[in-house]
Symmetry: C2
Subunit: 186 residues, 2 copies
DNA sequence: GTCTATATTCCGATAGAC
DNA sequence: GTCTATCGGAATATAGAC
């Protein structure tokens, strides 16, 4: 796997999460790599190829994180905490998450990119629902809603709070995360 | 005020909330109006003029709604319910809200459009914080978080659930809203 | 295998016709 | 006051050089 290819994916993801899918161009990426924009087309013939690869990479990264947490025997609290830390890091880097960046552009994406974004969102929601369900059974989480609904609300809170923080500078993102966590405590 | 101008704003808002700010063109709007794209420039010289006007219109609409609710003597429950109904309508029409559409594109907007989007978000959050505060004092709302934090979480839940619903078709948006409401009940 | 020169299309925007 | 013909540039993408 070429290093240029990996850098393109990295830069593409950066631009999606800061400017949005429809606001960045191959030119942006090629300039930063010191090559011509057409060179990027060698690695990713079309922009939808690139978009799809970026989402696929993110799915892989997320699944590796889950596997890692499972093999380390993380309990539900530790897992949720690790997940939320990803969002705190995003906020620190002034980036949105992939789902929150591409979601609003969904109708402009190709069918293959849409399919990957659907998969990514499903993977996250399924995992979040499962740790909420298990945590509730063990009585280490307390909530009255259906786990699937609660998972959607928690993810939504994390996703859109990043977006709102970008608009309103003074929003304290860590306090938001702290409140989400506290809400689940017995 | 010209009817063409109003239609342009209406179509522009539609496109922002379905495709995103950077994915629609003056061509899209002009074609639907049966005129040339340059005619749109007569009403809005630049795209940032149009974007700014669209957000301004939305602020005005929101403020009129608040005034209307106040003059009708709506209590906090009725006000929150009216607000959430806007989001349920958005979901039914398969549109995002303005804040959730333009938020991810924030870094690509002009300074004037940014300023209006900041104002719009502040107006919503300020209002939501105030009814939460008042409702808590009257003991008709129950929550332990700081009202400002709670307002941000509620708005985030509404905003991003629209985005997630677009990706995952089977999400039951009304159940999300119902859960948000139930969570505040004594 | 890697990249450049180039084509094509579409974008936002200006100047000027009616 | 309203709209059209047209421009300059940037976008994605192809064909072909090294």
């Amino acid at each position: 796997m070429s290093v240029t290819r990996e850098k393109i994916i990295e830069l593409g993801e950066h631009h999606i999460r800061t400017k949005g899918y429809n606001a960045f161009s191959y030119q942006d990426i090629s300039t930063e790599l010191g090559i011509k924009n057409a060179a990027v087309h060698y690695y990713f013939p079309t922009k939808e190829n690139l978009g799809t690869s970026i989402v696929k990479t993110n799915i892989q990264r997320f699944e590796e994180m889950i596997d890692n947490m499972h093999s380390r025997g993380f309990d539900e609290w530790k897992q949720l905490d690790t997940f939320i830390k990803i969002y705190i890091k995003s906020h620190r880097e002034q980036k949105l998450c992939i789902v929150g960046s591409l979601g609003p552009d969904f109708n402009t994406l190709s069918e293959t990119t849409k399919a990957e974004l659907i998969k990514m969102t499903e993977v996250i929601l399924t995992w979040l629902t499962s740790i909420l369900t298990q945590g509730k059974e063990k009585q280490i989480f307390v909530f009255s809603e259906d786990p699937q609904i609660k998972a959607t609300i928690i993810l939504s809170s994390l996703v859109a709070s990043l977006q709102l923080s970008r608009i309103i500078d003074k929003i304290d993102y860590k306090s938001i995360c702290h409140a989400i966590i506290k809400d689940l405590k017995p």
